[in-house]
Amino acid sequence: MRWYWYASPQTFFPLAGRIALWCGLAAVPLALAGLYVGFFVAPTDAQQGEAYRIIFIHVPAAWMSMFLYVVMAFWAAIGLAFNTRLSGMMASAIAPTGALFTFIALWTGSLWGKPTWGTWWVWDARLTSELILLFLYFGFMALHAAIEDPRRADRACAVLALVGVVNIPIIYYSVQWWNTLHQGASVSLTRAPTMAKTMLTGMLLMALAFWLYSMAVAMVRVRCIMREREAVAA
């Protein structure tokens, strides 16, 4: 019953501010802890040496890029089904952060690929589909910018986001479905991880930090959008 009340931009505005503050504050120590574990505590990898440490940014960023798209698609679906204003605003607020993490994943992946595979880029299934994900985020933002009426923009982008969500399983399962250069998944929800405990801890800490950061940034952005659209008295 109570969360219906928060569906109105007017009442959500102060709540968003509080969420942004607490998530932002929580993200900082977690990020510091994750980086400390990643760069100082975790052992040197047997095959890759020190260069592998970029995994502590690369993998959480890649996870976030996919996760944020699904969240964006979720809000898009809610907005189309219930015709609520706030859902569309949430989707638009998430998109730039999602694009950022996709870019970070691709860029750190490149930096990792050069010393280990000998090349900055290779057109295998996982990298290609992650690149497509970046284009999907850009397409979302470009379509939104091209439509003047905010409500029509929200709903058109919602359809686009839902059509593109087909790409997420493709990215995730690409390493299983195709022979790719990219290594397979070492972390799974159902099996025990196949990597050292400290490495896993570092990655999970960073993932949590990225998640809290994303929530904080999305909340700040959605407040800006609300003010822009005059859904809330300035």
Binding site: I132, F135, A146
Partner: protein, 222 residues
Amino acid sequence: MLAAARTILQRDLLLAMRRRGDVATALLFFVIVASLFPLGIGAQPNLLREIAPGVIWVAALLSSLLSLRRLFESDHADGTLEQMLLGAAPLGVVVLAKAVAHWLAAGLPLVAIAPVIALQYDLPAVLYPVLALSLALGTPVLSLIGAIGAALTLGLRGGGVLLALLVLPLYVPVLILGAGAVEMSAAGSGGEAQLLLLAAALVFAAAFAPWAIAAALRISSE
């Protein structure tokens, strides 16, 4: 419901026949783009033979993109799209009929003329059936996915480039499967896997794209 679908199909085919110039232009574009690559890369026969499937597929993709604007723009401009939204048949059915008509006028000619391009690239004749089949399965998927983009960008300024940005990422899997089918065949391992996946993509697109297109049309007509 089927009567409405048949009406729209016949109407769009009749309109395409009366505007044969548009259809011919898209086809000519396909031929010209495919001819640019040898001029740009150099005309060594071995190289051309290798890149032929990819080049033909990319040219088909771009030509399909070019012809997508025609799909809804004129109906939107003269008010007939609104009448379809208010018609007695479900919009998804009407949209599917339009997509089929679009494919018959824009995609099928590509399938027919592809062997001629393949000749230019000295692709072995034994690969022509796979090429034609991959295009025959893939171009309808391109029409359906592209129609979603066309519906979303209806009436927008800078629509053509925006349409390309939205639709090309979604086209990539079809491109990979289509060109891959021919390349696998050329390598001797048979392109059945890719062709089956293309067929699956076609079924999936035919089942779900019409609803996305209909939703997008309603949003764009407001």
